[in-house]
């Protein structure tokens, strides 16, 4: 084959490759990268108090005033509290259920199906279902003798934990699936050997299972944290924009939503979006570093 036809074939192959990548690249360019980068510009422009007027360049002023505002601080604190309530509880719950169901025993397939099931419930479904259970009149709380005033979802102290319970329930299915997959990928011989060495079940758990499971735990931590930062549907459905700030449930993403569709303030939304992005980026990088140092790799 001559060099000429070879390079012609190479060029044809490259052409085909770009053609195959094109559809995805167009979507990414228009709906991911362009709007992401546009945030940096929008953050520098302040929107007028009345619609119709042009927005004007204010440089870093808007970023400073948003980051310094008390509503931003409140939102950030609520978001972090929400994440702290949801992620560890969801991971622990998933792990405990996965350990309990990790035996070749009769009926385990059924239990596994049940424990995974909450993964399919959408935020709207979860919100409506739990909203009914938490209702001050028709719910279970009066019957249980737990009926704070104002009602739990209007209560500045209890609204955030209540919404977190919904998110934990929803996250439990995913957490269980991740933990089960991790347990199933653990080499049986190691566990068997430890058992023959006379390790008790508690020692086994801390000395063998947890180290072997650490990659799974970290994966769950990353996925769970991102999930928690992106939750706001429960709050929108059960609490709503008028009450979110008062009940301390105005999490970052809900704040973004309100800036966009209620306050019509793309500049504010852009600043908040960038904060959200950098938090998620930092978490991912931090966890990656932590992962490299701490995590036990089989055979290492």
């Amino acid at each position: 084959m001559s060099a000429r036809t070879l390079s012609a074939r190479r060029r044809r192959e490259a052409g085909l490759a770009y053609l195959l990548l094109l559809p995805a690249l167009i979507i990414f360019a228009v709906f991911t990268f362009y709007p992401f980068l546009k945030n940096f510009k929008l953050a520098l422009y302040q929107n007028p108090p009345y619609p119709g007027l042009p927005s004007h360049f204010v440089g870093l002023h808007q970023i400073g005033s948003v980051l310094g505002s008390s509503s931003f601080h409140q939102s950030l604190i609520s978001t972090l509290l929400f994440v702290l309530m949801v992620v560890p509880t969801g991971l622990l719950g998933g792990l405990v259920l996965a350990l309990a169901a990790h035996r070749q025993l009769k009926g385990m397939a059924g239990y596994r199906m049940i424990f995974s099931s909450t993964v399919v419930s959408s935020v709207a479904v979860a919100a409506v279902v739990f909203g009914t259970l938490m209702d001050p009149v028709v719910g279970l709380l009066p019957w249980l003798g737990l009926n704070p005033h104002p009602a739990i979802l209007d209560n500045p102290t209890w609204a955030l934990p209540a919404v977190a319970v919904i998110a934990i329930w929803q996250f439990l299915g995913l957490s269980f699936i991740i933990m089960t997959a991790g347990l199933q990928s653990m080499p049986d011989e190691v566990l068997e050997a430890a058992r023959l060495d006379g390790a008790g079940s508690w020692t086994m758990f801390w000395r063998v299972t947890v180290p072997l499971l650490s990659p799974t735990l970290f994966f769950g931590l990353v996925v769970g944290t991102i999930y928690a930062f992106q939750s706001f549907g429960q709050i929108d459905i059960l609490i709503g924009p008028q009450n979110a700030a008062f009940t301390h449930t105005n999490v970052l993403l809900y704040y973004v939503y309100q800036a966009l569709s209620i306050q019509n303030d793309p500049g504010l939304a852009a600043v908040l979006s960038l904060v959200l992005f950098f938090i998620l980026l930092a978490l991912t990088l931090l966890q990656l570093r932590f992962l490299e140092r701490r995590v036990h790799y089989a055979g290492a």
Partner: protein, 285 residues
């Protein structure tokens, strides 16, 4: 059930006790996990006055089946379900097609900037959709796509995760197979269609189930682009609407909720393996 415990007769009573404790724990866990959805089903079959009864009835003694047809037509659940089915099908099909094409290029073709372009695909995983919403809204509105299916779906027609998943699957295909096919006169597209795609069908199924779950349960974007128009509103936003408009008819709202979650329960029952596979891609190995 063949009991391994038989081998050690002396420890049997203790082990049976442990086994019983394990089943007890699992059953309590299952009840806790299922309780909210169970109560939704129960309450959907009660009269509103019965729902408020304390203690709450745990079994519907006189089930009111009419709530389901009420939610279906009166609550527009039929329309919302149809809309969600259309929206979800477009997104799933689009993601599968664009991912297959891109993944094939990354796995089987040689071209300049292959690595950098792959990094570009992976970078999309670092940018949450929420961060792009502000500008996407104005893009969609300038295209005249408010309250339309293109507006609901086009931003989601490509996925970095799906491309990554399918590229990994394509890389498992032995190179010899491509060379053999080449000698048989197969071009790339024919090889892709009749050899590569059939071989990675499990990975495609995993991606499909994953996309389905994500698309069906979308909340933020449909909330923003379907405004107050019934004609393209999805099930999730419809549920919010149903709850707002029929507070005195909580049973109908809950019937709507059960209708909204039913397709996904069926999906889970049929495709549990594929779903688990896609959700844990990257967790193990």
């Amino acid at each position: 059930m063949p009991e391994r415990e038989n081998a050690v007769p002396t420890r049997r009573p203790q082990q049976r006790l442990r086994l019983a404790a394990r089943y007890l724990f699992l059953t309590v866990g299952a009840i806790v996990v299922l309780f909210p959805l169970y109560m939704a089903v129960v309450n959907s079959l009660l009269e509103p006055s019965q729902i408020a009864h304390q203690p709450p009835p745990l079994i519907p003694l006189h089930p009111q089946w009419h709530t389901y047809p009420d939610a279906w037509s009166g609550g527009h659940m039929a329309v919302y379900l149809r809309n969600s089915a259309i929206q979800t099908s477009i997104i799933v099909a689009g993601q599968i097609v664009t991912s297959i094409l891109a993944a094939y290029a990354f796995a089987f073709l040689e071209f300049p900037f292959r690595r950098s372009l792959f990094v570009v695909f992976l970078m999309t995983l670092m940018i949450p959709f929420e961060v792009t919403v502000a500008t996407n809204l104005s893009t969609v509105s300038s295209l005249g796509w408010f309250n339309t299916f293109p507006g609901l779906t086009v931003p989601f027609l490509a996925t970095g995760f799906g491309t990554f998943l399918l590229r990994q699957a394509f890389l498992q295909i032995p190179r010899d197979l491509r060379e053999a096919a080449q000698l048989d006169g197969y071009g790339h597209l024919r090889f892709l269609w009749s050899v590569a795609i059939p071989l990675v069908r499990p990975a495609i199924a995993a991606l499909g189930v994953f996309s389905f779950l994500g698309a069906w349960n979308q909340y933020l974007w449909p909330l923003l682009v379907t405004g107050n128009d019934n004609s393209v509103r999805t099930v999730q936003i419809g549920l919010k609407q149903l709850l707002n408009t029929q507070l005195d008819q909580l049973n109908v709202s809950l019937a709507g909720t059960v209708i909204a979650v039913a397709p996904l329960i069926i999906l889970l029952l049929i495709f549990q393996k594929q779903l688990v596979r896609s959700l844990t891609a990257g967790a193990v190995k």
